[in-house]
């Protein structure tokens, strides 16, 4: 009887955990984000136009600015509701003069990329 209870609790625990992780993965696939534009601010800084094109809200936790000589990560804290657009300004980030790549990273681990042509 005790072993039956034990097995039921173990299986229930695993099923519950599996459901939770599936939910995490599902939310991650539902999350989509695009960077519409990245512009320089005067005298220094950058401005990123981001749009949440997914069906769920998202949390941006990092901004990356990379060029051929450096890959720099900056912590960020921006929440976007589903379908919402926002302009994220940072005066402490200097955009490189050369061709650069900008990325924003969400809490769930999705990444949107903007490449300066």
């Amino acid at each position: 009887m005790l072993s039956l209870v034990l097995v039921v609790i173990i299986v229930g625990n695993v099923v519950l955990w599996s459901y939770q992780m599936n939910q995490v993965d599902l939310e991650r696939t539902q999350e989509t984000l695009t960077i519409a534009n990245v512009t320089r601010m005067e005298p220094t800084g950058l401005s990123i136009d981001v749009k949440n094109t997914g069906a769920i809200s998202l949390h941006i936790v990092a901004v990356w600015v990379s060029d051929s000589t450096a890959h720099q990560r900056y912590d960020a804290n921006v929440f976007l509701n589903a379908g919402e657009s926002a302009t994220y300004n940072r005066t402490d980030i200097a955009l490189p003069q050369s061709v650069f790549l900008a990325k924003v990273v969400t809490e769930r681990g999705n990444i949107a990329v903007f490449s300066e042509d």
Binding site: I10, N13, M21, V24, S68
Partner: protein, 139 residues
């Protein structure tokens, strides 16, 4: 007092129904607590394995250091430990981050001599067997 105690010891009657129910409840609760604790211990490793999620935020073919730098972030529900790094299925030595707590991020520096324009299959393996693998092209 002594008399009462002696009488209690010599008493051959069974314990009262209330006391027996109470004892049964205590035993049942104790067994269930043991079962729950055992379940938690048994499934901990499995839950941690299922809860591993790691993303590669950035890959930098660093020409200044001659290394291949990978920025990892733990987006799962369990802390991870990196056990091996493979580039094109060949094990490589690495330094930098070797373990990552939940929601933490850091650089993993792989000692690998790369060639410009070549694509490399980078495979990062955790101690629980999770693979974070993809192709990356050197600029």
């Amino acid at each position: 007092m002594k008399k009462i105690f002696k009488r209690f010891l010599r008493d051959k009657r069974a314990i009262t129904p209330v006391l027996s129910h109470l004892l049964l409840t205590v035993v049942a609760v104790a067994i269930m607590s043991l079962a729950t604790s055992a379940t938690f211990v048994i499934t901990t490793n499995l839950r941690q394995t299922m809860g591993e999620r790691v993303v590669v935020e950035d890959v930098w073919f660093n020409s200044a250091t001659g290394t291949l730098d990978v920025h990892l972030r733990n987006v799962g529900k369990a802390s991870i430990q990196i056990s091996g790094v493979y580039v094109n299925h060949v094990g490589q030595s690495f330094n930098g981050v070797s373990s990552l707590q939940v929601n933490k991020h850091d650089w993993l520096r792989i000692a690998f001599s790369w060639d410009s324009g070549e694509a490399y299959y980078i495979d990062i393996v955790t101690t629980r067997g999770t693979h974070i693998a993809d192709y990356y092209k050197a600029p």
